[in-house]
């Protein structure tokens, strides 16, 4: 065995109780670090998963990121002429020639896309009117880019293909208007067109608001209802790898000019909040480990004081100052290492316990288990933090121990 390690161990064993207390500090620090981190990371991942699952990865809308350049500016880029009060060309809204654009987007590997025409409509049933969002979709393509298919609880998505007057609504809306599969409702589009439509499917996403306001019908039907034949006003995209969305969105935008917004861009505020949350979490957990570091500092400086005579002996025998420093740093490392391992077990216990807790989240219809993240990276991070704190805590007493002059001790002792 290593000489320094042996001496370090003998010191810790000579101060068993204090060593144990400081060890407990590290164990608790690491365990709480893991519990907090597992919960924070778990909820973050859970949140992003929901975001990525329910929202499109990229939404191409019928807008442009920058206002169109006026012809006069193109003609005289360096001109001193200034044309003011230009009224931009009145556009008919919607993505034009969306079929070609779909084909272009589909050439990007790992990307799937579906055209959607979204508009507002009023549901009229049994004398009650309800404002809803009506999305015209192509079931085949929609299935590729959203989880709507999995959320269908009655009927099917394909039913709007077979029955062009078919419409799919959320269970929330169905309950509100006492509707069921097979019922017929009047749908009034903003343009004034009215059509009787048959309920051919019900979905439940768990998001209360979504389930009460969203409805789906075939793209062709909605185009007719809204007087917008051959127009889509958004292209919904889904990526094999959701985290490529930002890059692909930029590429799509260059390709087809229309504004393409990735889920990251759309939820920038929320994602930034997560960063702030992480900073807070690591500060709190860091504070716990700081307290643990004080415990280590305490035991090692006690040992240094108590063993001054031993240090003097070792130095008179011929140990270098750095040998002495190393001995005390090893003491810190031993506490940090054992504390990390025991703390990891404690953390696993806490995490398993938390995972069994069920909570009712507002906006969710079902109770959910606390999301717990089990990634190895946080174990590594907890151990690294604990070890760094332990060695840092040992450093000051170690340096003091290294400076002991044997002659000072000998003079005092004789």
């Amino acid at each position: 065995m290593n000489l320094h390690f042996d001496i370090a161990l003998s010191h810790l064993l000579s101060r068993r109780r204090q060593t144990l207390v400081s060890l407990m500090g590290v164990v608790l620090g690491v365990a709480f670090f893991l519990a907090v981190s597992a919960l924070m990371r778990g909820s973050e991942i859970d949140f992003i998963e929901r975001l990525v699952d329910t929202a499109p990865h990229i939404t191409v809308s019928d807008e442009f990121r920058h206002a169109r350049v006026q012809p006069a500016t193109v003609a005289y880029p360096d001109g001193a002429v200034r044309v003011s009060n230009v009224k931009p060309l009145t556009d008919r809204r919607g993505i034009r020639q969306y079929r070609q654009r779909l084909a272009m987007i589909e050439s990007i590997p790992g990307a799937r896309v579906a055209p959607v025409l979204v508009g507002q409509a009023i549901f009229s049933f049994a004398g009650r009117d309800e404002a809803v969002t009506l999305s015209g979709i192509e079931p085949e393509r929609m299935r590729d880019v959203s989880t709507i298919d999995e959320d269908i609880v009655a009927g099917s998505l394909d039913a709007i293909d077979t029955d062009r007057n078919g419409i799919i609504i959320g269970v929330g809306l169905a309950e509100k208007l006492s509707l069921d599969i097979g019922d017929t409702v009047s749908v009034v589009a903003a343009e004034g067109n009215v059509r009787a439509m048959n309920i051919v499917g019900l979905f439940r996403t768990g998001n209360v608001n979504y389930d009460e306001t969203q409805t789906f019908a075939h793209l062709k039907r909605v185009q007719a209802l809204m007087n917008r034949p051959n127009v889509a006003n958004s292209l919904v995209m889904r990526m094999d790898d959701a985290y490529r969305a930002r890059d692909v969105a930029a590429r799509v935008e260059r390709m087809i000019q229309y504004k393409a917004v990735s889920w990251q861009e759309a939820s920038e505020d929320i994602l930034n909040t997560l960063v702030v949350r992480n900073v807070i979490m690591y500060s709190v957990v860091g504070a716990i480990l700081l307290v643990a570091a004080f415990g280590i500092y305490n035991v090692i400086s006690t040992v240094v004081m108590e063993k001054t005579r031993d240090i003097a002996i070792l130095k008179s025998i011929g140990f270098h100052a750095r040998d002495i420093r190393r001995i005390f740093l090893i003491e810190g490392a031993i506490i940090g290492l054992i504390g990390s391992v025991l703390g990891a077990f404690g953390g696993v216990g806490l995490m398993a316990l938390m995972q069994r807790i069920e909570v009712q989240v507002p906006g969710e219809s079902e109770p959910v288990n606390l999301p717990v993240y089990w990634g190895m990276d946080q174990f590594a991070m907890a151990a690294a933090f604990a070890l760094a704190a332990a060695i840092f805590a040992a450093y000051l007493p170690a340096r003091k121990g290294g400076r002991v002059e044997p002659v000072d001790i000998l003079r005092g002792a004789v």
Binding site: L3, D6, S10, L13, P406
Partner: protein
């Protein structure tokens, strides 16, 4: 220096101190040792004597490279130790010198064998097995067979001091420095320790410088150094 060396051919000095002075700085500086010139030959047995507070320990620390002189030179095997840095001094103590102090100064958590082996482990000249063999042999030589695995607290004062001597001998030093090694021992143990230290010079060819008040011990010395108020008087 060269001249003095020439007057004593055959007697190779391992340690030469020239006008060593050590002053403790402070508001009132204290002179511990003044103008001490000492010369220790190979295999020589030298006793330092003097009244309490005369600077015997202080001189020993200087000779043992534990302390640096305020002025003067100290040559170990011909090398000027004034140029050594702290690490070099420590390494020199480890490989060439051995200390025995008045109080046993063993590490309480380690067995006798471990204590003796410790300087060998630090030096790393021998492999683990050879270190343990040598440590056990040294303990046997000093009459401690059967006590190898005892802790210092399980040994008598005389036994502990013999363990300390074994430890001082661990790396086969050229010089042993002993500061009142029997000061805390009874008469019988003292005589035993004295004999051992005396025999070292003959059996191992290593030099011994010992501080003592004991007249009987001083009798067998090759040379006596008498200190009064930090000065060598004879």
């Amino acid at each position: 220096m060269a001249g003095r060396e020439a007057t004593n051919p055959g007697d190779s000095a391992i340690l030469v101190a020239e006008r060593l002075t050590r002053v403790l700085p402070g508001e009132v500086p204290v002179t511990l040792v003044q103008d001490a010139s000492v010369r220790i030959g190979r295999g020589e047995f030298v006793i330092i004597r003097g009244p309490s507070g005369s600077g015997k320990s202080s001189l020993l620390y200087l000779l043992g490279l534990l302390d640096r002189p305020t002025s003067g030179r100290l040559l170990l095997e011909g090398e000027d130790t004034g140029t050594f840095d702290e690490d070099r001094l420590a390494t020199t103590r480890l490989a060439k010198l051995g200390f025995v102090f008045q109080f046993h100064f063993l590490l309480a958590e380690f067995t006798a064998l471990d204590n003796v082996q410790m300087p060998m482990r630090r030096l790393g000249r021998l492999d683990e097995a050879a270190q343990r063999d040598r440590a056990a042999q040294l303990l046997r030589d000093l009459g401690l067979a059967g006590h190898e695995h005892k802790r210092p607290s399980q040994l008598s004062g005389g036994q502990r001091q013999r363990v300390a001597i074994a430890r001082a001998l661990a790396n086969d030093p050229v010089l042993i420095l002993a500061d009142e090694p029997t000061g805390a021992l009874d008469t019988k143990s003292s005589a035993n320790v004295h004999d051992i230290l005396h025999d070292l010079t003959r059996e191992r060819g290593c030099s011994v410088v010992a501080v003592t008040h004991d007249m009987a011990f001083a009798q067998g010395a090759d040379r006596l150094i008498e200190l009064v108020d930090g000065r060598i008087v004879s």
